[in-house]
Point group: C2
Chain length 223, copies 2
DNA sequence: TCTTAATCGATATAATTCTATCGATAAAAC
DNA sequence: GTTTTATCGATAGAATTATATCGATTAAGA
């Protein structure tokens, strides 16, 4: 029997953590069930969207009462791979790198930063959130030994490609990139860009439209 | 004559900063022109996509040689509203807040953080990247006086709604939210969520599929 | 017990977004 | 000077994604 490939859109994938956060909140408040209708109220999209998204995780609801929250949480986490926390290397102990190191909730999102690397001699050897900053040269050896699959790029754009190359050579399977540069990566390695500027671009454009609309009146701006 | 409303998709808006970064890089290297074909090589989508995106900014190219890079940069920045830098307030002087304060490139992206607020008495009065942390109570007065339109939320999820409410009451027009909580906001105010976990979710899911595919062989996983 | 109302699950339709095609144009090659 | 090639700009078509509809199901109320 041919195992049918379930197509999961990127959009759906990106909505799942939104649901998860709300669901964990409700779970802490001891609520047991929720309907798609109720869940959708928290967002600016509809209940059908929510139901369709939850469907891909294999969740099953009951008519009239909805879904069991604990089931949904488990299903979403399993679907995303967040039930098993993955170890990760972080390269770049700068402003952003420090923030990521200090983020307490990554374990909820399946991520555990186990080591930090930098190339600045002034930073190497110092400790940030109880982790020693190591020279990049140590990465290949450690990656193999510790079976680390995820590499986080938090260096300047100019250095990003070089860092990724080292990561790939070290056996890293997935790269989470915070630098604004487009990176080249061999086939079979996962690359995901976390670009703040994308989000900022949407905000800026909307604000520009809003402000323009106010000064010159009757300037149409799509919202 | 009816001014036709140009529909700009969110997807297009989010790709524009990607182009911008590459273009500014090429500009520094004194390259004068680029074709959509060449630009698209940097990304995992095609040249037609690039051309269609650039079109919305009003850019005009020349057959055989492509677009003048300086024109493209100007057009994109104008379209996003990044040619005029907007002042912004940041609330939450924690790990992430500090990283944002220390980010040198925001001026390139039309953003200038002019003040920082927190509610922790231990932090109030301290200086971070040469900016004094102020109590949240001071925001309403300052916002009106300084005509600040953008508010950045970098507090814990539990406090985010409360902070946004103060921002809105202070006359903030656009909110850039880093907390994972869904926020309620009145009609007419812009809300943009910068959620790292969305990006992480895509990465995690892909990695999970990759790893599963390896252990049990012949498990199909959509990529 | 029977009716009502809310919700799920599946299917169908609509909207959006991406990709391909083709003539026009401008530079380069011949 | 003519041909060739690369690219733009516009339009048409395909694919993807979001939304609506409808019967089935289950709990609650009459
Ligand atoms: N700070 C932010 O809020 C923010 C926001 C969005 C994007 N980013 C991006 O994240 C990246 C880091 O930003 P930042 O503000 O932390 O910069 P930063 O300058 O504070 O830190 C960069 C760190 O990377 C290290 N580094 C540079 N080249 C290296 C190399 N080849 N190998 C190892 N380490 C190297 C530096 O020594 C430094 O410690 C940049 O690409 C930036 O554009 C930052
Ligand atoms: N650190 C990261 O890398 C990271 C990544 C993704 C998302 N986030 C999100 O960003 C937010 C901040 O994260 P963080 O790591 O900086 O947390 P943090 O605890 O280091 O900082 C939070 C800051 O907000 C302040 N604060 C709390 N309630 C406040 C209120 N009502 N008014 C004013 N200030 C208040 C606290 O005093 C503290 O200084 C969180 O919602 C977190 O989920 C952080």
């Amino acid at each position: 029997m041919p195992h049918t490939v379930i197509e999961v859109s990127r959009s759906t994938l990106k909505r799942l953590p939104l649901y998860l956060h709300v669901l964990e909140d409700l779970h802490r408040q001891k609520q047991e069930y929720i309907s798609c209708t109720a869940l959708a109220l928290k967002f600016d999209f509809g209940s059908i969207q929510v139901r369709k998204d939850l469907e891909v995780t294999g969740a099953e609801g009951t008519a009239k009462i909805g879904f069991r929250i604990s089931d949904l949480i488990r299903n979403i986490k399993t679907f995303l791979g967040w039930h098993n926390v993955q170890d990760a290397f972080l390269v770049g102990a700068g402003n952003l790198g420090k923030a990521l190191l200090g983020y307490r909730d990554f374990d909820l999102y399946g991520l555990n930063i186990v080591a930090v690397f930098d190339k600045d001699p002034a930073k190497i050897g110092t400790r940030i959130f109880d982790k020693e900053v190591m020279p990049v040269e140590k990465m290949p050896g450690l990656a193999a030994r510790m079976h680390v699959n995820i590499g986080i790029v938090a260096v300047s754009a100019i250095a990003a490609q070089e860092v990724v190359n080292v990561m790939v050579a070290s056996g890293i399977r997935a790269v989470w990139n915070f630098a604004p540069a487009p990176l080249e990566i061999p086939q079979g390695i996962i690359l995901e860009n976390a670009r703040l500027t994308q989000s900022l671009a949407v905000l800026s454009n909307k604000l520009k439209c809003l402000l323009e609309e106010e000064t010159k009146e009757s300037v149409p701006c799509p919202m």
